[in-house]
């Protein structure tokens, strides 16, 4: 257990109103000005701004409150306690494994700190195709700048670890530009455990920034409490029905929250699911559609020297070369990054069994893996997935991996392998069930050109779920108005990654912070008559 200061436990000792889980239970009924569902990127920014505006806020989080005192950098504890479905959430056909947070702070508690403003090319596409005239780089810039200041998002000036430097060196050899990634950290220890909960509170996640700020201003936080559905009447939400999760197998208590306004920010699978369970109006059949993932393909490689991909800040170098060198609505583009590796995620991803798998497992300290985020949602053959409800009312995403997307996966594997060989890899293995370790670029290229790029054969993962309650300038094209209010429910706002009408083409946390900052400032002004900012 960390011996460092724990600002969350200190806040609880000061009298923060936090309920649920091991803390005192929430009452059966609550009333407030604004009920916020979720406590991640969009919810945190919204909670701080609304609390600053003097509004009474109740935050409802399905996951537990875990803090730096709990974060022991072990996957065996982090995955079950901090991630949706124990980090094994899958699309309906099981072809894509999805990493999403499920704890106070949401995915910001477990992400790898990569921070990018929304690319101008993405915003231009939204202006042209979705009538989002106000979503320009210039109009959003001050809101991004405030979020960056609030969360200490700055260029990472520490030299990259070997895992990231291999991407830089390999790309440089091929004349491919690669740059440093900005990170939301303050006093980072360069441990490399961001994905398991930051044990030093250096990561400026919602857990240690906006949620504490809101609690200090009197907001209430209900943990281990699931938002089940809204009660609706006459084009408005009249109540939010929640359930305290209690111990597994027990029913848990029902909680009814009545608010003047509701903000849905449960993430881009769970937010559409709340609306589906509520049988919310959906006259144009848009709810839960156009859900995007940045499907990720990976290439694993082995070097002579130690890489120790678990060690040091993760994802500090990236390349957008394969996004910027082609039309946004042409063949699918991809962003390259170098993910951290830890034993469980590495071992479960190493393909195969027996001797081949054993040799790869033993290469762990020498292993360098690259990933490619495919920019989905900009082409007719990339319409994303559909959030649905299972018969037990839990959410599931049906995401068909089309040939268009998978051919992008092939090109991405080729690019990554070429970079790895250029960086000096002695062996490269694209993560595909029919691939073998290859020892030269020409051998690898010929093999990957011949692989069937099919789901389930190709290893595909995602850590970026976006869309499903898309923004649009007309109600035919989306679920949410440009000001963040639901097109058919006047006292409901949606403030999370489910707003995005396409994928972002970059790790989405700063896109959520910046856009929600603007939406929540507008909401705060409408509800309280007061102007507030994050800074």
């Amino acid at each position: 257990m960390s011996q460092l200061k724990d600002p969350i436990r200190e806040g609880l000792a000061r009298g923060w109103k936090v309920m649920g889980g091991a803390l005192p239970p929430a009452p059966e009924t609550l009333s407030c000005d604004v009920a916020i569902i979720g406590s991640g990127a969009g919810a945190g920014i919204t909670a701080e701004l609304l609390a600053k505006a003097g509004l009474q806020v109740v935050i409802v989080e399905e996951g537990p409150l875990k803090t730096s005192s709990d974060f022991n950098q072990k996957e065996s504890e982090a995955y079950p306690s901090l991630y949706q479905e124990s980090a094994a959430r899958k699309t309906e056909d099981k072809a894509i494994n999805i990493l999403q947070g499920r704890c106070v702070g949401g995915s910001t508690t477990v992400n790898w700190t990569s921070s990018f403003r929304t690319p101008g090319s993405t915003l231009k596409f939204w202006q042209e195709r979705f009538g989002l005239d106000g979503y320009t780089t210039e109009a959003l810039a001050p809101y991004f700048a405030e979020a960056e200041q609030r969360l200490n998002i700055t260029p990472w000036l520490v030299p990259p670890n070997e895992n990231n430097d291999l991407l830089r060196r390999g790309a440089a050899k091929l004349g491919i530009p690669a740059s440093a990634i900005s990170r939301n950290v303050k006093g980072c220890w360069n441990l490399g455990s961001c994905g398991l909960g930051c044990p030093t509170n250096a990561k400026q996640s919602m857990l240690v920034t906006t949620i504490p700020a809101a609690l200090d201003k009197g907001a209430q936080l209900l943990t281990e409490t699931r938002a089940e559905k809204f009660e609706l009447a006459n084009g408005k939400v009249t109540a939010l029905l929640c359930r305290s999760l209690g111990t597994p197998g027990t029913a848990g208590g029902a909680i009814r929250i009545v608010a003047k306004h509701y903000v849905l920010a449960g993430g881009a699978i769970n937010s559409p699911a709340v609306l589906l369970r509520s049988q919310a109006p959906d006259p144009h059949g848009m709810l839960g559609t156009r859900t995007f993932l940045h499907p990720v393909v990976m290439s694993s490689s082995v070097f002579e020297q130690k890489v120790e991909a678990w060690n040091g800040a993760p994802q500090t170098i990236y390349s957008d070369h394969f996004l910027e060198t082609q039309a946004i609505d042409g063949p699918i583009g991809y962003k390259l990054e170098a993910p951290p590796l830890h034993p469980v995620i590495f071992a479960s991803t190493v393909p195969g069994f027996g001797q081949g798998q054993h040799d790869l497992l033993k290469s762990f300290p020498y292993n360098h893996t690259l990933l490619a985020l495919l920019r989905d949602g900009f082409h007719d053959e990339s319409k994303g997935g559909q959030v649905k409800l299972r018969s037990d009312n839990s959410a599931v995403l049906d995401y068909p991996l089309t040939d268009y997307v998978m051919e992008g996966g092939r090109r991405a594997l080729l690019s990554m392998m070429e970079i790895q060989f250029a960086a000096g890899a002695k062996q490269v293995l694209p993560l595909h069930e029919m691939a073998q370790p290859y020892t030269s670029w020409t051998q690898a290229r010929d093999a990957v050109n011949a692989l069937p790029m099919k789901p389930l054969l190709t290893r595909v993962v995602s850590a970026h779920v976006m869309g499903g309650c898309g923004l649009a300038g007309t109600e035919r094209q989306g679920v949410t108005r440009p000001d963040g209010v639901h097109w058919q429910l006047e006292n409901l706002s949606i403030h999370d990654g489910s707003l995005f009408p396409t994928s972002i083409g970059a790790n989405p946390q700063l896109s959520i912070y910046g856009m929600v900052n603007r939406l929540a400032q507008g909401l705060a002004a409408r509800l309280s008559g007061r102007g507030v900012t994050l800074t």
């Binding site: 065996s76 762990f364 018969s391 037990d392």
Partner: protein, 168 residues
């Protein structure tokens, strides 16, 4: 509770069983009380032997201890899965533990406990590259759960050359 997932896996499973001449009514659940049942343990014990063949200790006694540790960690993993995922895993293991399901889904003729590592590996490879999504999904679940659970134990990290997290 999970009627739809039951029906979905059920329909595919029923087809497999029909081909194999079995009957779904005879299946024993692969999970019981949020942990592996006897039949679930039988399947994962055999899959563990095959997937981790070169990784488990060579000595038979030490190997059995390592396999028991693996099964305990799978129990822990199972408890952390949501109800729908537990239900699907339970059905998959039930199917694999039945003689007809084992033949149809895994293509394995001998009972799990009697099959050699080579035969089980051949079955896994057939599932891995099968044209049937259900068989591919089954392979992925067995593979990922086995490898992930095994290396969730710090005692396994020496093989990976992983020193564990930095003390702070």
């Amino acid at each position: 509770m999970q009627r739809r997932t039951l029906l979905k896996l059920g329909a595919a499973s029923a087809a497999v069983l029909l081909v194999a001449g079995g009957t779904a009514a005879l299946l024993q659940p692969g999970l019981a009380g949020g942990a592996l049942s006897a039949s679930g343990r039988e399947v994962f014990s055999a899959v563990g032997r095959a997937v981790l063949d070169k990784t488990l200790p060579a000595d038979e006694g030490a190997r059995q201890i390592a396999l028991n540790g693996l099964l305990s960690r799978i129990d822990v993993l199972v408890q952390s899965l949501p109800p729908h995922a537990q239900a699907e895993l339970s059905q998959l293991l039930a199917l694999l533990a039945s003689a007809a399901g084992r033949r149809a889904l895994a293509g394995l003729n001998q009972p799990w406990q009697e099959a050699s590592v080579t035969d089980i590996q051949q079955s896994l490879q057939d599932m891995r590259l099968s044209r049937l999504a259900l068989r591919q999904q089954a392979y992925a679940a067995l593979h990922d759960i086995t490898a992930g659970a095994y290396f969730s134990d710090p005692a396994s990290w020496a093989l990976l050359g992983y020193p564990g997290p930095m003390k702070i």
